[in-house]
């Protein structure tokens, strides 16, 4: 019973290891990329459309509505990043129904990489929206004394994103592995269903938190009434 798919080695040559995390991530990339390409080959705007196009439209409009509800003004700019985060983490959790598959988000490497993407995306979107000076000024927002606390909060919420997703996925996999050695008949299936539910909730949480962080970095600061009168 291993802690994460990192310890499942498929192929090794000297320093390069092809472990379970990498292989399952490639599998997910293949399914998402090739699947989307196949579905969107002939998009139709008529009343009759293929069921896969309907499914993708439901998913995309649902994500766009959620992003708009969080408070991000033009959702089309951010749906590429946030939608990909949600789809990757959700599909990584859903794949547990396939025997022999372990979610790559059960390894701290994958979740740390995803959290680092969010950590880099928030300043990028913030600077794109408010300019470099405006974004940097947000760090001294209430008073200058808050500067170290704002910096620490940036780092700690990135760490929290990574560890939250890793802990949820790893604990689900570990519970199932332990139960398989104790009562292998029906109960592991119940725990797998619970693992699917928590996986979907964690996917939603990850992308909603990323959207909230981006919204906090890109919201326009309202000028104070006294200053508005002066100009």
């Amino acid at each position: 019973m291993h802690l994460s798919p990192d310890q499942l080695i498929f192929w090794q040559h000297g320093f390069f290891k092809l472990n379970g995390t990498i292989v399952f991530t490639w599998g997910l990339m293949l399914v998402l990329g090739v699947g989307s390409k196949l579905v969107t080959r002939q998009l139709s705007t008529e009343l009759t459309r293929s069921r896969w196009q309907n499914l993708l439209e439901i998913v995309v409009t649902g994500i766009e509505k959620q992003i708009a509800e969080v408070g991000l003004k033009n959702a089309e700019k951010y749906i590429g990043f946030l939608g990909t985060l949600f789809l990757f983490v959700a599909l990584a959790a859903l794949g547990t129904v396939i025997p022999g598959y372990e979610p790559p988000t059960g390894s701290l490497s994958t979740t740390a990489a995803l959290a680092l993407c969010v950590f880099l995306a928030v300043p990028l979107f913030g600077i794109e929206e408010q300019g470099l000076g405006g974004y940097l000024k947000s760090y001294i927002e209430p008073t200058v004394i808050m500067l170290p606390f704002n910096l620490i909060s940036e780092l700690s919420r990135t760490l929290a994103l990574a560890v939250r997703l890793f802990g949820n996925m790893m604990s689900g996999a570990m519970i199932i592995a332990i139960l398989l050695t104790i009562t292998p008949f029906i109960f592991p299936i119940v725990m797998t269903a619970l693992g699917l539910l928590t996986g979907m909730v964690q996917a939603y949480i990850f992308s909603i938190l990323a959207a909230v962080y981006i919204a906090a970095a890109t919201r326009t600061r309202k000028p104070k009434p006294a200053l508005a009168v002066k100009t």
């Binding site: 802690l3 959620q66 560890v163 802990g167 909730v201 949480i205």
Partner: protein, 96 residues
């Protein structure tokens, strides 16, 4: 008791205590969060989408604390660096 035994005993006891004590706070917090969400849903049912979404986000943040404690106890049991170090020292001494 030699070093290995001390490390093993302390790791096992700490792992159990970590997850036991670490689940109390989040469980109480989640209970309060859900009860407040239910009462506000009863007062304003048409805001149920916002309330439900905020409830889930809040529950995930509270759950993270329990997850941190779980990760620490898993590390103590399965990926304990002090235990691994003691094992390598003992195997080196036995190999000599």
């Amino acid at each position: 008791m030699d070093n290995m035994t001390i490390i093993a005993v302390v790791s096992i006891i700490t792992a159990g205590l970590t997850i036991a004590l670490g689940s109390i706070g989040p469980a109480l917090g989640e209970g309060r969060a859900v009860s407040t969400a239910l009462s506000s849903l009863a007062q304003q049912p048409d805001a149920s989408a916002t309330i439900t979404r905020t409830l889930f986000v809040g529950l995930a943040m509270i759950e993270s604390i329990a997850i941190y404690c779980f990760v620490v106890s898993m590390i103590l049991i399965f990926a304990n660096p002090f235990w691994n170090h003691a094992i390598t020292v003992v195997t080196k001494a036995a190999g000599k």
